[in-house]
């Protein structure tokens, strides 16, 4: 399973070009690389439970794959979700583009995996990093923001029928390794 090709299809074209260039022409590409390396190191030395992330297999530091384990006491318990991170060339001054690769049934995630989370949009600051984003997403799984849903049905079910919600979650979930 090669994730990098999938990344190409899903990520915004501009960011990907920047990612591909990755070379010395960008004056700050050095600092992006350095920052990402540091973040990676941080993830490795002090891993948070239930989340992990790593650059893609082609060694391009600007695209990462992450894994979130569904937190206990949520409909997602026992499930493993894959995500893709694409970092812009001016990271960390702009947020990374984060998508769910694993099909997920969630009020704030649409069917192509796009996520509605304020810190990935206008609330982004350079103080966030991959780990904080992953932890926010993990908590989003247990506490969706039903005020601004991308998946209206899911938002409704979450409140009205948890049983049905859980069923939908399990129905939609597929481990992408199996594909």
């Amino acid at each position: 399973m090669d994730y990098s090709t999938q990344d190409n299809q899903n990520a915004a074209p501009g960011t990907l070009d920047a990612a591909k260039l990755n070379g010395a022409r960008k004056p700050d590409s050095q600092s992006v690389t350095k920052r990402l390396q540091t973040e990676l190191m941080q993830l490795m030395t002090s891993p948070a439970p239930g989340v992990s992330a790593f650059p893609s297999a082609d060694g391009n530091l600007l695209t990462w794959t992450a894994t979130i384990e569904g937190p206990d006491d949520t409909p997602y318990t026992g499930l493993t979700m894959k995500l893709s991170f694409a970092f812009p060339s001016n990271y960390p001054y702009a947020p990374p583009t984060v998508l769910f690769k694993t099909p997920i049934y969630h009020p704030n995630v649409d069917f192509s995996g796009r996520i509605c989370l304020d810190i990935l949009k206008d609330k982004w600051t350079a103080a966030y990093n991959v780990q904080t984003v992953l932890l926010s997403l993990q908590s989003l799984l247990g506490e969706p923001n039903n005020a601004s849903p991308l998946n209206g049905e899911a938002a409704e079910l979450w409140d009205s029928d948890p049983e049905e919600f859980k069923k939908k979650v399990l129905g939609r979930h597929r481990d992408i390794e199996e594909e």
């Binding site: 399973m1 390396q37 790593f54 390794e177």
Partner: protein
């Protein structure tokens, strides 16, 4: 014997060759008689007969008369053939009576002028060429063997003298014959011409007659004499007192040398071969002089004081120039004037240059030792500085020094400390040698590469910086780079260059162009900057600062009473690296200062409670801001209940004092004072917290009423305290060495309640324990021989591999994993393929990894 036999054989052969070239079958003293008148007496130098036959005018008579005259003359000047004694030619043929002389004279006239006196003699010869032929033959037949005999003598002077005497005698003999002939010359010029011609011939013969023995003898004698003469210029001789004595000795030698030289030139031995030999002798004399006087002499120039002539060159250079001018050139000039040639002043200058070149070569080869004995060797560096001016010499210097460096310093036998000390000396020496630092840059590369292999290099430098320059005793300073602390504290060396773009500083009157052999990105340094150079050699300043941080961390936590030294060093380093780079260290220092205050405040509030509880442990803490400290190893274990209680109280009051902050205990990093009451003694020991915890575990069960001393096994303790095996083992070893507990085998330890009965045993135990501390015994549980750092690294790498296999790609071959790790780990992956493979094998056997089809993957849950 065999030698002489071959020698004579060689001689015979040489003579054969000689004869084949030159006409040696000269006419005999008595020439052939073409026609003899019957009745005419013939033969024998009958003067009377000759005198009585002047009237014969017949052509045949002319011939006869000429023959007779020839006979008379030749037999008179014929050289004696006996060579029995060396002075056989020394005695001239005794002057015979007057009438013989007269007869000889008249005959000579006839022989010399056959055309006018005896017009009819058809067969005449030139007496002069006959004489030189005869001389040649005589020389070959008689003198050469004599010379060969001379050389077989042992003593070289003797060889030389007898050879010269022999030649002189031969010379006399030959010239005597010539002078007899010349008596008949009326024309002065012709006579002189004849003498010159004869002399030239003779010298040609003699000049080609050098034997090896004679050459050796001459070289030896000249070497000795020249050395004696030139010794007058030695360094010690420049002191005024023994001048007279040595001078007379030198002048004796000089006299002898010149005497020999004169006689040599008289006998014709001062030819080309001699000149070559003399040049060789002088050459080796110069070498010997330089070696003798300057090897290992590095006194600085002021020691010579006013005795030096020129001040252009410092140190030995001045002395050497002086010596070449006043001793070396003098001798040469004298020798050459004896041989009739002149020495130009430019030649002397050239010799000076040659001598300086030799001295600098010597210094270049000594440079490593000069570096080692810096700063006593300043003079040597001065010499070099004035001599090493051309790029070639600079190259020679760096090449030689690099080779010496490789051979003598950069090897496993040298301690890092020693290498660093040498490096500091190198920085200083090379700075004195060449302010531009180009030379140092060229030699230092190998050293820097090598230092990167030494893990402890940075540590040593940092501890050196932190050591106190004044307080350190010699024993202390042995293991430290105290020099660094001294430099760091020396205010005069702390001046930072204020103008970075010094190319733009138009008012800089000391500006110099960059050296020709400077590399790219070259920047002329302003001062020797030992610390800066040293740190840059150790890699980037980041690494240095990181190491500084971790060392300062251990020092701050070590419980030393004052942190003044750290504050001072930090201030000095800040000037070097800038404020922001050392911000973390700043915070660390402030933490320590703050925690003193906080600790005091909390302590006060705790005291009140303690008074109520009746608990009397004094408990202090250092509160560290986790983000700014280097990651400290956290090895949790179960602390004794009283301490844990204390911690809880402390924590509570801390959180009360500083809301929204939380304390995390690093149990293993503390210090404790343990008070032990044993049956026969009480001990108060300052130790680490984990050591205290371990010994506390020995005391707990006494209430249970066990008989005899308390006994604990390794596994008991390990399970009970939940402590890391390494720490536990260390702690046990510590108490064994303190003779509080004893290893009774089978990983069981017993409290040593009474000391006396156990003295020998305990001694052995103590020795064993210390041995163990160093060697690291095999642990029952864990693979040992792995440092904590390596453990940590393995942990991080394993996280990497997990992250990689979870996210990047579920299965990966070894090579790709290696590549990813190399690329993504900021400091690079220090493992080789094999090491990674071994590590993965371990994980596979632990069930944490699977290998399927050459690719690794995580096992399915």
């Amino acid at each position: 014997m065999a030698v002489t036999v071959t020698n004579s054989k060689v001689h015979a052969r040489r003579q054969k060759v000689f004869r084949s070239v030159f006409e040696t079958q000269i006419s005999q003293p008595t020439p052939l008689l073409p026609a003899t008148e019957p009745g005419q007496p013939f033969g024998g130098p009958s003067a009377a007969f000759l005198a009585n036959t002047p009237r014969l005018t017949h052509p045949a008579n002319d011939q006869v008369r000429w023959d007779r005259a020839w006979h008379v003359v030749t037999s008179r000047i014929q050289l004696p053939s006996s060579v029995a004694a060396e002075d056989s030619f020394g005695t001239l043929a005794p002057d015979s009576s007057q009438d013989v002389d007269d007869a000889f004279r008249s005959s000579l006239l006839l022989v010399l002028n056959p055309a006018s006196a005896l017009p009819n003699a058809s067969h005449t010869e030139d007496i002069l060429s006959w004489h030189s032929q005869q001389v040649r033959q005589h020389f070959v037949n008689h003198v050469l063997p004599l010379l060969a005999a001379c050389t077989s003598q042992g003593d070289h002077t003797q060889v030389l003298l007898t050879s010269i005497r022999t030649l002189e005698a031969a010379n006399r003999q030959y010239l005597y014959g010539l002078s007899l002939i010349l008596r008949a010359f009326r024309d002065e010029d012709a006579a002189n011409a004849a003498v010159v011609k004869f002399r030239r011939d003779l010298h040609a013969i003699i000049g080609n007659s050098w034997t090896q023995g004679l050459l050796d003898a001459l070289r030896d004698v000249f070497n000795r004499l020249a050395t004696d003469v030139l010794r007058a210029g030695d360094m010690q001789a420049s002191s005024p007192e023994p001048d007279k004595e040595e001078d007379s000795e030198a002048s004796d030698s000089r006299g002898e040398l010149l005497r020999i030289l004169e006689s040599l030139s008289k006998v014709g031995l001062a030819g080309e071969k001699f000149q070559t030999l003399f040049a060789e002798v002088m050459n080796s004399c110069m070498d010997a002089f330089i070696q003798r006087n300057y090897a290992g002499v590095w006194t600085s120039s002021d020691d010579f004081g006013a005795s030096t002539v020129s001040t252009v060159f410092g140190g030995c250079m001045a002395h050497l120039g002086d010596w070449v001018e006043n001793h070396y050139a003098r001798l040469t000039v004298e020798v050459f004037s004896r041989m009739g040639s002149k020495i130009e002043w430019s030649d002397v200058e050239m010799w000076k240059n040659v001598a300086i070149g030799r001295l600098s070569t010597l210094r270049i080869h000594e440079l490593f030792d000069i570096v080692l004995s810096w700063p006593e060797s300043k003079g040597g560096v001065e010499d070099l500085r004035s001599a090493v001016t051309t790029p070639q010499r600079r190259l020679q210097l760096t090449d030689t020094f690099s080779a010496a460096l490789q051979k003598r310093l950069l090897q496993p036998g040298r301690s890092t400390l020693y290498i660093l000390q040498t490096y500091i000396s190198m920085i200083r020496t090379f700075h004195a040698l060449d302010h531009s630092k180009v030379l140092l840059d060229r030699v230092v590369h190998a050293l820097q590469l090598y230092l990167c292999q030494r893990d402890d290099a940075i540590r040593i430098v940092v501890t050196g910086l932190l050591s106190h320059p004044k307080e350190t005793t010699p024993e202390d300073s042995r293991g430290k780079l105290v020099e660094l602390a001294a430099i760091l504290n020396d205010a005069s060396l702390q001046q930072r260059r204020h103008v970075d773009d010094d190319d733009l500083d138009w008012n800089d009157m000391h500006w110099l162009p960059d050296p020709v052999d400077a590399g790219v990105n070259y920047k002329r340094p302003k001062n020797e900057d030992v610390i800066g150079t040293l740190i840059s050699a150790l890699g980037s300043s980041d690494i240095f600062i990181k190491e500084f941080q971790s060392i300062i961390a251990t020092r701050l936590l070590s419980g030393q009473p004052s942190i003044q030294q750290e504050v001072k060093v930090l201030g000095l380093l800040k000037r070097r690296f800038g404020e922001s780079a050392l911000q973390n260290c700043d915070v660390m220092l402030r933490d320590i200062q703050d925690s003193k205050r906080v600790d005091a405040a909390i302590g006060k509030s705790l005291e009140l409670q303690q008074d109520q509880d009746g608990n009397s442990i004094s408990f202090h803490s250092k509160i560290l801001s986790r983000l700014f400290w280097p990651s400290l190893p956290k090895e949790p274990f179960t602390v004794p209940e009283t301490v844990a209680e204390m911690q809880r109280q402390y924590e509570a009051s801390f959180e009360h004092l500083k809301s929204s902050r939380k304390l995390n205990w690093l149990d293993n990093l503390g210090l404790a004072t343990v008070h032990l009451e044993l049956e026969d003694r009480t001990l108060t020991i300052e130790c680490k917290t984990y050591e205290a915890t371990v010994i506390y575990a020995f005391g707990q069960d006494e209430a249970a009423g066990e008989q005899g001393p308390v006994k604990r096994t390794f596994n008991d303790l390990w399970q009970k305290l939940m402590i890391d095996e390494d720490l536990l083992e260390e702690a046990l070893a510590f108490w064994v060495s303190q003779r509080v507990i004893r290893d009774v085998g089978d990983q069981t330890y017993v409290v040593l309640e009474k000391l006396e009965g156990d003295v020998e045993n305990a001694g052995a135990d103590a020795a064993q324990a210390t041995g163990e501390m160093e060697g690291g015994p095999p642990s029952p549980r864990k693979a040992k021989g792995m440092s904590a750092k390596e453990q940590e690294q393995r942990g991080i790498y394993w996280q990497f591999i997990i992250g990689m296999l979870t996210n990047s790609s579920p299965t990966m071959p070894l090579a790709q994993m290696m590549m990813m790790m190399k690329m993504l780990i900021p400091d690079g992956c220090s493992w080789s393929n094999e090491e990674l493979q071994d590590f993965l094998e371990e994980k596979i056997s632990a069930g944490e990894l699977e290998l399927v089809g050459g690719k690794y993957r995580l096992p399915k849950k």
